[in-house]
Symmetry: C2
Subunit: 172 residues, 2 copies
């Protein structure tokens, strides 16, 4: 079916990753995270539907919880690729080295200009795109948006751009 | 009809504003700007279709040519509203004071968090949204995207968010 969804941030509370993502749910009776639906929980939900691939193109990636979801998916055999901005890789709190350590392929631009995209393609069929960097500040602080669509024209345009940049950013 | 368009940056050349926007076209025989279609020229074209309103929500706005288009539209009676990030207003090259001087209403957040959206709504019927800030660097330097749609569900979600923030950012 057709999927079109719009999410706005900031969320009032941080969604509980265990509640929304883990197979067993959240057992913390004093959990300080949200078990109610938020924009982040919707992002979690869509990322969690990946069973083949997650192509992530994200300027700034410092959010530990989102990194953990990628690592969990990677361990379950989902093919993850991440491209980011070269100057962001070593910035404070960047998750890129954690992800690389797990064996997830990461590529970056090699210019003083910005790899400024903030999109993910789930299983080559769903696009999540907007202003939202993968940072805690974007979740509960900033005014941000995400548009989620499985419109095949739109998804294919972003897939092509991802493949083009993935080749372009090949360090070899 | 249905409009769905995807634009990627950087452009190889800067589109000629006169060629794409002015009623008389470009008369400069040695024009150093592009008269061929680019991503920026497509943005110009869509902005130029506005005859009622342009609701602009943009984190960083330093591009002189895009400011000029808003001023031209404003002088022709198109109702312009701009919201931006308070810390960006006085940043180097910011166009906000030029636009305010012309009488265009501008509002900002009043927090250390970011008003990080980068979208425009044209005549309450077309959304232009993505990673693209209105800067020269975004046009010819960075990897950026814009998704353009007149899907009424999507447009209405962004209209509602614009109105909500516009009220929230009222300085009174
Ligand atoms: Zn919980
Ligand atoms: Zn020209």
């Amino acid at each position: 079916g057709m999927i079109t969804e719009v999410l706005f941030f900031p969320d009032k509370e941080v969604a509980c990753k265990n509640h929304f993502i883990s197979d067993r749910g959240c057992f913390n009776t004093k959990c300080r995270y949200s078990h109610a639906k938020t924009s982040l929980s919707e992002l979690y939900r869509h990322l969690n539907t990946a069973d083949k691939s997650l192509d992530v193109s994200i300027f700034c990636f410092t959010c530990f919880d989102l990194a953990e979801i990628l690592i969990m998916k990677h361990k379950r055999g989902v093919k993850i690729r991440i491209m980011t901005d070269d100057e962001q890789v070593d910035s404070s709190g960047a998750q890129i080295w954690n992800l690389r350590k797990e064996g997830i392929p990461i590529r970056t631009d090699r210019s003083s200009y910005l790899m400024h995209h903030k999109f993910v393609i789930v299983d080559s069929r769903l696009l999540i795109n907007g202003s939202f960097n993968w940072t805690r500040q974007a979740i509960t602080g900033n005014q941000e948006n995400l548009l989620i669509t499985n419109d095949s024209y739109v998804v294919n345009e972003f897939r092509n751009e991802f493949e083009k940049l993935w080749k372009e950013f090949d360090p070899k």
